[in-house]
Each structure stands twice: as C-alpha cells, then as structure tokens.
C-alpha cells in the first residue's frame, strides 16, 4: 500500500490506476481499460493484437508449441512406465 501514490494511468498521468493490462503489465485508467474474456487490456495492446493477427501468423510459435507438446506427451508415457517400474522394483 506504500506505493499507492505512484499508481497512475500510463496514458493519462493525472488519473488514478484502475486495472493492469495483462499484455504489457502497465497500469491503466478506467477509460483505457477494456475487458475481453474477463481480462483487462489497454487500447494500444488490443490494437497491436488486432493488427498482429492480420499482419503475421505466429507460425513459429504454433510449430514450437505442437512439437514440444508432442515430445512432452511421448516422454510422459515413457516416464510413467520407467518411474513406475523403478518404484515397483524397490518393493
């Protein structure tokens, strides 16, 4: 609570902070805050997201996500057997 006086909107320095943008983690006032799916975003981040969707497709991110998830799921099944057999062997 000691930092109460330092919480101001980054776009309107005269206004008290209302929420935190979950994308850029900056404090924003009521006017700047837009709730989307229950999460607060500031106007520039929302605009960036909108243009980002059109301008570039995050193929790299999706590819990494799919490959890593597939590897992790494969390892999960193997680890289940290995660690289980290891523990069962102790008894």
């Amino acid at each position: 609570m000691a930092t109460a006086t330092t919480r101001w909107c980054v776009h309107h320095p005269q206004r008290a902070a209302f929420a935190l943008c979950m994308t850029c983690t900056r404090t924003i006032c009521q006017e700047c805050a837009t709730q989307w799916d229950g999460i607060y975003h500031c106007a520039p981040c929302l605009a960036k997201q909108r243009t980002g969707v059109v301008a570039r497709s995050p193929v790299g991110g999706w590819l990494a996500l799919i490959v890593f998830t597939a590897i992790l799921l494969f390892v999960t099944a193997r680890l289940m057997v290995w660690s289980g057999a290891l523990i069962a062997g102790l008894f």
Binding site: F18, P58, G61, T76, M80, A85, A88, G89
Partner: protein, 269 residues
Amino acid sequence: MIRAPLSTTSVLDETSDAVALAAAPWAAVLVLTSLPWRFLQVLFVDQLIELGGNAAHYGRALGSTANAATIAFIVSLIGRAIYARAINLAAASGRRPGTEAFRVPRAALATYLFTGSLVAVLFYATWFTIIGIPLTIMVSGLAIGTMPLNDRAGIVAPLKRIGRFAREAKTLTALTFVFLVALAVAMVNLLAAFGIGLWLVHGFGGIDISRWEALLDFGTRRFDLLLIAGGIIAVEPFWIAANVILVRKAGAEESGEELRLWFRELAGR
C-alpha cells in the same frame, strides 16, 4: 467479483461463489473428461503393484496402459481448460456462464496442453521424491490459473507467466495444504458413503452383500486406489477454481483494483 485483498481465505471465499455459479453444468464436463484418465491411472498403479519387482519385464503391457492414460490425459486437459474458462467468465461477470465457456481460445488451449504436459513430465520425474508431488501440484495449479491469459501461441511466454504468479508462493502453499486436507476429507466421505450404501442395501433390501463387502472394504487395494481417484475428482473443481481466482486476484493486486478496495474501506470507516 474481486472483493477483498489477496489472502488464502479470500481466495477460498470467492472460489466457493464462482464454483456455485459455474458448477452446473461445467463441473460435470470436468468430471466426465477426468474419469477415463483417473481410471487408467488406477489401472496402471494396480498393474505396477501386481507386478512388483517384475514390473521392468512387462514394459510393453505397462506401456500400452501408459499410452492410453496419456491420451485420456489430453482429454482431461481439454475438460480442465473449458472449466477454467467457465470459472473465469463467472468470476468476471458474476453470472452463470453460458455455452461461451466451450469457446476456449485456440492459443490458450494449445499453451495449456503444453504447460500441462510439462507439469506431467515433472510429476513423473519427481513423484518418488515426495516433495515433488506438492511442488508439481502448485505449478499445475498456476498452469491452469494462467491459461486464460495466454492469447498467443508460444512456449516461453506461458512459462514466464507461471513464474510471475509463482511469487504468490505463500498463498499457493497454503492452498495446496488446504486441498490436500480436503482430499483426505473427501476420501473419508466417499468411504462413509459406500459403507452407508452397503448397510442400506443389506438392511432394507435383504440382499446378500458379503461379496460386495469384500470388494468395497477399506484395505482392498483396488478399492483404496479408486477411493483416492474419487477424492481427487471430488476436489478438482474447487482446486481449479481456486487457482483461477488466485491468478485473477494476484493480477488485481498489481493493478489499481486493490487500491480502489482499500480507498472504499477507508471511506467506510
């Protein structure tokens, strides 16, 4: 719906409200998607105990159960994502969530499949250390709690987000302890429910239950394993909701929302 500063009791208080709003029918979706995974886990552990020291020689048989359990695990992660979204919508609006709970954003779902799988690997790599179990429970809770915040596909951002909310270690530890106690209470209740059920069937139905008594007796391996699985299934909706609420409240603490509450409290005095 954020009403009080972040603490274990305030998280549990708001969790009960959110669960009351979202439980029907979303807790059923969660339970239905979790059931195959939990049953296959029970089957796997039962096979391990049965094989004992010879388990290493039956890798193929155990592997097929593990593969089936992993597929069921993916289904359960999807169920968790739908339920977490329902809780998030209920907490944000204070109303019963509609079918929009099914519309989990693709990026959020995919990142949760990734973080959920990572937690599973961590769990199976550390479960024999005992301390690994509560630690992975906490990371798993943060993974589902931060899921609604993941709006872009990637592997670094969701992990950073989990790390950011891991700062609430004190509340997370307290919540994990509360839910481990709740799990024990749920198991005792389930055991009592089975006992009462058998007693009623025997007392009023006049049916011979000697075979069922042997099967549903505390101390019977399969029944004990099913009891643990049943306890987890009973507690899971509250645990997921608590983690979603914890992340929401931790986010509000960083923002002005907590300050507004403080000012309101001061003005009220």
